[in-house]
């Protein structure tokens, strides 16, 4: 806690070294885990070590000499290091298949071309574009199903396989399992073969349902309050209508009614926390409303034995006293900072074109020394994408935030006028991975919201999570974007009204309608990311093509596979994949990742 004093000097902030925007010195790569970099033939000689069911390293005894590369002896490898308990990333290598018709020069991955098989649903497989040649001139065969959500319980449902280099990454998102396997393992999994003990964790019994959609009474995880839509900045890419917003602010009595409603709900549901999130515009511009919200939240929480958890998203252009207030009372602050001054001021000028960076940097320094968790959120444009690694290192070293969040620019006519465009998704994914590594010496995680893999998600955003957002006029919405944004896409996300002294009136029919709007897109059915990104923002996805991967999907798929690779193989492998444009495109544009869609030779 920071002490405020009339004359007592606060403790000196810790000294920081090398302030400024020096390009980061990347740390040396961590040493490769023995065995893991040696391809599919790299099998440990140790018996399997298991910390717990499904955890640790699963490997079969050494393979006989490989069929490929005659004369090559399988490498003698040191034993694997002890398995890390609690991890579900696994190396699974099966003995080679019985002799197949493969060319003897083929590696374990390559399969002979076969006539098209019927896909699991019985539909004719669509004609696929030719894939880049696999090793040894062979092709992996892929059968893409028509995009549809799973409707039946297939042991292979929810199981995905992605070819990377000369091995495969198999992913089971609903159980949080990922594994590096060889082709033999993929074939068995594709055949629904759970007879191999090492594959049982992956192959069954499967969870046949996605994370459930919301049903029953409305149960928001947090209450969102838009204190004002007004903003003191003039960001070139603003998608929140702050430039056109009026200066009106939320009636503090309405805020109190909403907080009391949320506190009652949290207590009835036996929760431990009362979660209140502030959005804008710039929420701290309505300082008097914020004062009331903060103190009412604390009193309402104390009265019910709850812990108050306040969060806010801010542009950081505020007096130092307000920044200290935020640091004292808020559990978490997401501060928009797009990079050093030359980037930030280009993206995010004040009204009149003045520089906002000095004020935002001061706020960041205050929050960095406060009790609140500070997340620095940067919007990435084509202009800034190349500098992401140095931006991440600068942020991590200077502010030591709890996290750095990089999100790509959402194009608007205004952003185009300003010459700002979204980055190429492949460049973004590559730069993101380098940025993640650049921040790691300071222990600062770098996030891209769609690739966060903490747990499966039914919906990416507040819309599908029963969010209740109180607009400045007292209308209750399921989304924090301005109404005109979703109305323009044919959506109605109103769910009720809040009135001073009367509380909240929530319309059940509207809640049901909004829950229906949160259903995942059909094009997600065959994508391995579907349970993590959950299709992204529903509002922005509305009106988009129902099939095909856009930039959002491409960068999400690449960053997610890179994060899986990082855990399975080490960050060098992930960086190498993303640096190879052809390999990245091949992975990003696969029509289906579902293992059930693979026609394998058995």
């Amino acid at each position: 806690m920071e002490w405020k004093a009339g004359t007592t000097a606060p403790p000196e902030p810790p000294e920081r070294s090398a302030e400024g925007a020096e390009p980061p010195v990347l740390p040396p790569e961590p040493p490769a885990r023995s065995g893991l970099r040696d391809g599919l033939l790299a099998l440990p000689t140790e018996p399997p070590a298991r910390c717990a069911a499904r955890d640790g390293l699963l490997a079969l005894p050494p393979e006989p000499p490989a069929r490929g590369a005659p004369g090559d002896e399988p490498p003698v490898l040191p034993p694997e290091p002890p398995a890390r308990c609690g991890r579900r990333d696994e190396l699974i290598a099966l003995p080679p298949e019985l002799p197949t018709r493969c060319d003897p020069r083929d590696g374990l991955l390559a399969l002979p071309t076969e006539p098209p098989a019927r896909c699991a649903s019985g539909a004719e497989p669509p004609v696929l574009p030719p894939e880049p040649p696999a090793r040894c001139g062979r092709r992996e065969e892929l059968i893409a199903l028509p995009p549809e959500l799973p409707t039946r319980c297939d042991p292979r449902e929810g199981l995905f396989a992605l070819p990377v280099e000369d091995f495969w990454v198999v992913v089971e998102p609903l159980r949080g399992i990922s594994a590096r396997v060889n082709a033999a393992a993929v074939r068995k999994l594709a055949a629904g073969d759970g007879s191999v003990p090492q594959l049982e964790a992956l192959a069954g019994p499967p969870p046949c349902v996605e994370p459930p959609s919301r049903r029953g009474p409305l149960s928001p995880q947090f209450l969102g309050l838009i204190t004002t839509r007004a903003c003191n900045m003039d960001c070139a890419y603003c998608g929140f209508g702050a430039g056109a917003a009026s200066g009106g602010s939320l009636d503090p009595r309405v805020a109190v009614a909403a907080i009391d409603w949320m506190a009652g709900l949290a207590a009835r549901e036996g929760r431990e926390t009362l979660d209140i999130h502030l959005f804008g515009g710039e929420p701290f511009l309505a300082g008097d409303v914020v004062d009331v919200i903060v103190h009412r939240t604390r009193i309402a929480a104390a009265a019910r034995g709850l812990k108050p958890v306040l969060e806010a998203a801010t542009n950081g252009v505020c007096p130092a006293s307000r920044a200290r207030f935020a640091g004292d009372y808020f559990a978490s602050i997401a501060l928009s900072l797009d990079g050093p001054a030359e980037i930030h001021d280009c993206h995010r000028p004040l009204r009149g074109g003045l520089a906002s960076f000095p004020s935002v940097e001061r706020t960041a320094r205050i929050l960095a020394d406060a009790a609140a968790d500070l997340t620095l959120r940067a919007c990435v444009s084509r202009k800034s994408v190349a500098g992401l690694p140095s931006i991440a290192a600068w942020m991590a070293e200077t502010f030591r935030p709890a996290a750095i969040d990089f999100e790509t620019l959402e194009p608007t006519p205004r952003s185009a006028e300003a010459g700002l465009f979204p980055p190429d998704p492949y460049r973004f994914a590559e730069a993101f991975e380098l940025a993640r590594r650049a921040a790691s010496p300071w222990g600062v995680p770098v996030l891209y919201s769609a690739s966060v893999r903490e747990k499966p998600r039914a919906c990416f955003c507040p819309l599908g999570n029963d969010a209740v957002i109180v607009e400045t006029g007292g209308s209750l919405h399921a989304c924090y974007m301005e109404a005109r944004e979703w109305e323009a896409r044919g959506l109605d996300l109103r769910i009720g009204t809040a009135t001073a002294g009367e509380g909240l009136c929530i319309d059940d029919a509207s809640v049901a309608r909004v829950r229906g709007a949160a259903v995942r897109q059909a094009k997600c059915a065959a994508c391995f990311c579907r349970s993590w990104c959950a299709g992204g923002c529903r509002v922005r996805a509305s009106g988009q093509p129902e099939s095909g991967y856009g930039d959002f999907c491409i960068q999400t798929r690449l960053i997610t596979i890179a994060s899986l690779l990082d855990r399975l193989q080490g960050s060098a492998s992930a960086a190498a994949l993303l640096a190879d444009r052809q390999a990245a495109e091949k992975l990003a544009l696969r029509p289906s990742d579902r293992i059930a869609d693979w026609r394998c030779q058995l």
Partner: protein, 89 residues
């Protein structure tokens, strides 16, 4: 009651359970609920009038009641030396 400011040697911090005020002259005391809110508002520079209006909303009480409560606390805080007259200001 106007023209009050935090006295020299007084420090305070925000705790999860309230606001802890400490002065070099007096024992530390944890303020909770509406009194904690009142201290925070005054210590951060609100005038008594501004603070009373906010306290009424925060506490769900009438403005007169809020004003009376704040008046009581201001006198108490002045008596224990946490606040002092602002002088010419």
């Amino acid at each position: 009651m106007t023209g009050l400011r935090m006295a020299e040697g007084v420090a305070w911090t925000v705790e999860s359970t309230g606001v802890l005020v400490l002065s070099t002259q007096h024992q530390a005391r944890l303020l909770t609920d509406l009194e904690a809110a009142a201290w925070d508002l005054i210590a951060r520079g609100d005038s008594p009038g501004q603070a009373a209006a906010k306290l009424a909303t925060i506490g769900g009480i009438g403005s007169q009641e809020a004003g009376s409560a704040l008046h009581f606390w201001l006198r108490e805080w002045t008596a224990v030396g946490w606040l002092e007259e602002a002088g010419d200001g």
